[in-house]
C-alpha cells in the first residue's frame, strides 16, 4: 500500500526527520488559508499515487496566499497518470543548496534491507539505476544492528557531504531506517533530501510503501488507505481476499492460483486475444469467492467473454461449479462464459454445470481459444 506524501511526512515527523511545515487542503480556499498560516512563499503539491507530479504540472510555487489559491485551483482540476487530484499539500518553500536521493528498501537478491544514496538528488532513481548505476551507493543493513550511525556518516561523506551537513544527513538516514523497520515498509524514500541555504537538512518529498502482508499489525496505517481512486471491483476484491488487477482487454479471467492466472493472461495474448484482468480466486475455493469474482468481472463493461480456468487441487471443481450456478442466479451475465475445469471432482462439477446447460473443457489451450472466439462473437 502506498502512502501519500503528506502521510509519509507524518511518519517522518514522528520519527524526528525534519520536514518543511505543511498543511493538506482539498479546496482552493483551504489552500489559501494554509498558505496564510504558513506565511511566506509556499509550494502547492498534488497528492496522488503517481510519479511525475512535477512534470505534469502538479507542483507549483506560490508567493502569496492568493497565488496559492490560484495554483491549488489549477492543480485540483488535474489528472496525473489518469488519477484525479483531490488533495494538495501546501508547504513552505525553501532555498535549496543541494539535493540528495535517499531510500531504504529490501534487496531481494541479498535478502537484506539496503540504504541507497545518490548525490544526484531529485532524479529518477530507476532511470539512474539503469543508466548510471555507479552513481548510486548501496549499503546493506544488518538486521541485528540496524543502520549504524557510522555507516550513515560514512555514506554521507562518500557522496561528498562534509562536516555538519554530513552529520545532519546521517541522523536523518538512521531515523529513516527506523521508520522503514517499525512501519513494515517495503520502501521509505526521501527524494530529494535537501540541504537549505541556511545549512538545514530537510526531507522535501517523502514516499513510503507499506508491505500489504504486514498491515494486520498496523491499524493506524490501514486507516490511511485512500480508496478514492479504487474501482468498486478493486475494493470488493480486497474485501473478499481476491487478487485482482484490471487490464485493458476484453476477456475476463477467473483463475485459481497466481501463477496459473498469469499464464492464462499470457496464453490469451499468445492466441491473439486480450485479457481484461488478472484475477486469482485463491487456493481454497468457496462458492462465495466465485460469486464475488463474477461480480467484479461483470462490473467491467468492456468484458466480452468470461473465461474460467480452474485446476482443481485443493480447489474443488464442484465448489467452483456451484459458485458459477449461484452467480448465474444472482447476477445478470450477458456475455458468453467459457469454462475450463480439470482436477479434483471434475466429473461432479461437469454434472452440476450440465444442470444449467453449461459445458466445460479440460484443456487450458482449448479454453483460451474458445474464450477468444466467443469474445469475437464467433462461438456462441
Amino acid at each position: 500500500m502506498n502512502l501519500h506524501e503528506y502521510q509519509a511526512k507524518e511518519l517522518f515527523q514522528r520519527a524526528g526527520i525534519p520536514v518543511a511545515q505543511g498543511i493538506v487542503a482539498t479546496t482552493p480556499a483551504e489552500a489559501r488559508a494554509a498558505a496564510q498560516r504558513i506565511g511566506g512563499a509556499v509550494v502547492v503539491k498534488a497528492q496522488v499515487h503517481s510519479g511525475g507530479r512535477g512534470k505534469a504540472g502538479g507542483v507549483k510555487l506560490a508567493n502569496t496566499p492568493e497565488e496559492a489559491e490560484e495554483k491549488a485551483r489549477a492543480i485540483l482540476t488535474l489528472s496525473i497518470q489518469g488519477l484525479p487530484v483531490r488533495k494538495v499539500l501546501v508547504t513552505s518553500a525553501v532555498d535549496i543548496a543541494s539535493e540528495t536521493y535517499a531510500a531504504i528498501l529490501v534487496d531481494r537478491a541479498v535478502k537484506q534491507p539496503i540504504l541507497m544514496l545518490s548525490a544526484a538528488g531529485g532524479i529518477d532513481i530507476e532511470e539512474t539505476a539503469h543508466t548510471n548505476p555507479g552513481a548510486i551507493l548501496r549499503i546493506p543493513i544488518d538486521l541485528t544492528t540496524g543502520l549504524l550511525p557510522w555507516q550513515a556518516r560514512s555514506a554521507a561523506q562518500k557522496i561528498g557531504k562534509k562536516g555538519k551537513e554530513a552529520l545532519a544527513m546521517a541522523d536523518m538516514l538512521v531515523r529513516l531506517y527506523q521508520v522503514f523497520w517499525s512501519e513494515d515498509a517495503s520502501l521509505a524514500e526521501i527524494n530529494p533530501l535537501v540541504i537549505t541555504k541556511d545549512g538545514e537538512a530537510l526531507a522535501l518529498d517523502a514516499k513510503v510503501s507499506i508491505d500489504d502482508n504486514a498491515l494486520f499489525r498496523h491499524d493506524d496505517l490501514e486507516a490511511m488507505r485512500d480508496t478514492a481512486d479504487e474501482t468498486a471491483g478493486s475494493i470488493l476484491a480486497r474485501q473478499k481476499g481476491l487478487s485482482y488487477v484490471p487490464l485493458d482487454g476484453d476477456i475476463g479471467c477467473v483463475v485459481n492460483g497466481a501463477g496459473l492466472a498469469m499464464a492464462t493472461m499470457d496464453l490469451v495474448q499468445f492466441y491473439g486475444g486480450k485479457p481484461a484482468n488478472f484475477l486469482d480466486i485463491g487456493g481454497s475455493s468457496n462458492p462465495e469467492k466465485v460469486v464475488a469474482a463474477l461480480k467484479i468481472i461483470t462490473g467491467d463493461s468492456t468484458v466480452k467473454a468470461i473465461l474460467f480456468n480452474i485446476f482443481g487441487g485443493i480447489t474443488r471443481c464442484d465448489d467452483v461449479a456451484r459458485g458459477i450456478l449461484t452467480a448465474l442466479d444472482q447476477l445478470t451475465i450477458d456475455v458468453p462464459l467459457v469454462i475450463r475445469l480439470t482436477g479434483t471432482n471434475e466429473d461432479l462439477a461437469r454434472k452440476i454445470l450440465a444442470e444449467k446447460g453449461l459445458t466445460a473443457t479440460t484443456s487450458m489451450d482449448e479454453g483460451v481459444k474458445a474464450a477468444i472466439a466467443a469474445a469475437q462473437g464467433g462461438a456462441q
Binding site: A109, S243, G259, A263, F270, S363
Partner: protein, 356 residues
Amino acid sequence: MSVWVGKNTRVVVQGMGRDGSFHAKGMKEYGTKVVAGISPTKAGESFEGIPLFATLAEAVKTTKANTSIIYVPAPGAADAIYEAIDSGVDLIVAITEGVPVEDMLGVWDYLKRVQSVRKGLPRLIGPNCPGLISPGQCKVGIMPGHIHKPGKVGLVSRSGTLTYEVVHLLTQAGMGQSTCIGIGGDPINGTNFIDALAAFQADPGTAGIVLMGEIGGTDEDEAAAYIKKNVTKPVVAFIAGQTAPPGKRMGHAGAIISGGSGTAAEKIRAFEKAGVPVARIPSEIPGLLAKAMKGGKAAPKTKAKPAPKKKAAKPAKPAKPAKKTAAPKKTTKKKAAQRPVRKARAAKTSGRKKRK
C-alpha cells in the same frame, strides 16, 4: 532417487488447524510418514492416528521427525519457522501465504547463521509454496498427489496451480517426475532456483529439469547463469507473466516488475543466452523437454548458442524432427554439484532480531 524428500522423510505438522489437519491426512494417505502434529491445545490427543504434541522439540525427540511442514497462519508463521529451526529438523516447508517481508528477513538472518554451523541445514522451502513431492514416495505439501507419476523429471517452480498444470501435462505425456519442488511466490524465501538446480544435478534419479519462473526479482537470471556453468542435465524453462503490467503485484507478493526490472522478457533472454530452451506456453514444455533429453543438453556451454527457437506459430507440441545438437550426446558429469555456498557473513552471535 529423489531430492530432499523420500522414503526416509518423517514429517511433523506445525499448525493442526483446519488446513493443517486436512493436509496431514492427505499426506498420510499419499504414503508419507506423518509422525506428529503440533497443537498446544490438543497435546496428548491424536488426529487420524497422528499423535499431537505441545511443542516441536518434544515431538522431534519422541518421534524422530526430520521434516517439518508449517500451516500456521501468517501472523505466527515466522515464529513457527524459528521453532522449527531450533528443533533440529533438516527440512522445513512453510506453506503459509502472506508472511510479512520483515518477518522473513529476520528468519533468513537467523537461518543463515544456523546453516553456517550445521553445514547448510536446515533447508527452508517457502513460504507461500505448495511444498514438494517425490512421486510414489513422499509428499510434503498440498499438491494433488494423483496427477504425479514417478519418473526422471525434476521440476522447480515459484507457483502452485501452474505447477500442477505442467505436472499434469508431463504425466499425460508419459514423463514422470523425480521430485517437484515449489519454492514459493514470496520475495524472500528459503530456497531458490539455484539450490534446486544443484540438487537435481546431483540426483542420479533426475535426468531432465523443468524450471518455472515468473516476473519479479532476479532469481531466474542467476539460475540461468548457474545452469550455463554447472548444470549438464537438460533444462527447459518457462516464465509466467509475459503480459503483466509493470508496478502491479500479480497475486504473489514477489511477482512484481519494479523499476523496470524483473520482466519476463529479461528472464527469457537470460535463459536463451544460457542455451536453455524457453517454452512460450505451458503446453510446449513436455515436447521441448523430451527433445532436450533426447539430444543431451540443448546447447554446448562454451558457445552461447541461442535456444532452439521455434518460429512457427504452431502452439501445441513441437513435433519437429528431433534436433541434433552439436554437443555430444550425453555430456559427462562435470563434477558433483556442490551445495551452493551462501554468502555467509561473519556470524553474528547476538540473539535473533525481535520486532520493536
